[in-house]
Subunit: 272 residues, 2 copies
């Protein structure tokens, strides 16, 4: 999917919501456990209930890998059930030497038809460029993450600038705004602002609202650009909103609450 | 497996060789393609031919993931066929927020019974500690990798010290030498020396000899400690040494050449 199609979806739905399909079989409604593939059935139900309110889905691959070959089947079925107009992100945080990154790219772009994959920058250019060689596919590079440990290395001032800024500046040479996004955690809105300054046109994928405590208003204030430029992710607060027969309605209600806040933010920042 | 058992294997075999099972179905002998699971059959043959010459096997997970659920089955079968006295490393380069790293740890330590997993440090403490919570299991943390892109970020300096040294220094607080190793690429032996100074007792996993050009003698000179303290990996130069019916003998011969060099290095550095 290209950037224009993504922005069209954002305008159409007045939403920049990404729903994280971090589906843990121990947390889904118990009555689904009798299904042949409970995780895929649950995800399909979540997608059915929410796809008109969000523009992207982001399965975190750890949750599928933890179930081995069965988990990969669930992931395949999940990707299959997402309507093609939605942007799909494999949250895999991969990155390895060139020939190996190429295999990871094939996994998430060919074997599975994801639009984007999250990549860790530690190993540098040749670990990232193989992903960017796939036409119409995206790299979402970790810059500043939302967890406490992000302070350990990402904010070390190396040669006068925090590491995450070095990552953004170098990566701007590797990928245009229609192929590259950055991860910028909601828990440090001022950092979102500093990344936005360095990369005025690139989309930012923002985790960390909801369970992790980030604020949608602050994220929008620091991160929105004239094409929105944001995908804000929520996972647990939506997919586990309910645990009974009405889990679809509960998930829809949680997604709708966020979509309405996003509509307000877009109105305020884009139309004023 | 604990550190003492690993060192026992090293002394017994006069070898600190780790064989990388980076098995690409496009590169294995053609006659194996008629097997039900060609990748697992190939790996099993390589393990049969080399297990008395090496102390560790390291499948790079990318090569299995690229084949989806089938690939995971090959990985499961591969781990099953490795004799229990050998150290097994899932080269996965994972790392995510706490609850997600915990799932990755379960994948590689419980679902699959690996002894160790490679982890990327970018996301900091809470992305690494969940792996260290598993008794008798190991984290192998990326410090300085062997690829050209390693220069992009790992060698940026803060207060006179490159990032990879900050990674090693912080990580020393998280993991003892019997639970934590560092990746130190063979292509920069002086860097191996600087990591050895910071971490005199920790094992170093060293990729980059063979196809990538590093020298075993230089690695040994800069990295060996009194308990050897090195696992040196070779992948392609061993597993693809042959492509015909005699691929097992060719792989064994390539492994034997390295084992004999390692025996010399151990004799020179440990017994003099």
């Amino acid at each position: 999917m290209n950037r224009e199609d993504l922005y069209s979806q954002i305008r159409l739905k007045s939403s920049f919501l990404c729903i994280g399909l971090d589906t843990d079989i121990r947390k889904i409604p118990a009555f689904l456990l009798k299904e042949k593939n409970p995780v895929a059935t649950f995800n399909q139900a979540i997608v059915e209930a929410t796809h008109d309110l969000c523009v992207a889905y982001k399965p975190n691959i750890a949750f599928y890998e933890a179930m081995g070959s069965q988990g990969w089947k669930s992931l395949e079925k999940t990707v299959d059930c997402i309507p093609p107009e939605l942007f799909t992100i494999a949250d895999a945080k991969r990155g390895d030497i060139g020939n190996t990154s190429e295999l990871y790219a094939k996994t998430f772009f060919e074997y599975l038809p994801f639009d984007a994959v999250t990549v860790s920058p530690y190993m540098g250019a040749d670990s990232i460029l193989p992903f960017l060689a796939f036409p119409d596919k995206w790299v979402i590079l970790l810059a500043s993450t939302s967890n406490p440990g992000s302070l350990d290395f990402q904010h070390l001032k190396l040669e006068g600038k925090p590491l995450y800024q070095h990552v953004v500046e170098k990566a701007l040479k590797w990928g245009e705004p229609d192929r590259l996004m950055f991860v910028a955690g909601a828990t440090r809105p001022e950092v979102i602002g500093s990344i936005r300054k360095l990369a005025p046109d690139h989309f930012l994928l923002v985790p960390g609202i909801g369970a992790q405590g980030g604020s949608l208003a602050e994220v929008s204030q620091h991160g929105m650009n004239s094409s929105c430029g944001l995908l804000v992710n929520a996972s647990r607060s939506i997919i586990y909103a309910g645990s009974e027969k009405d889990f679809q309605q509960k998930a829809r209600k949680a997604a709708l609450t966020l979509q309405r806040e996003m509509e307000d933010m877009m109105h305020y920042h884009l139309l004023q």
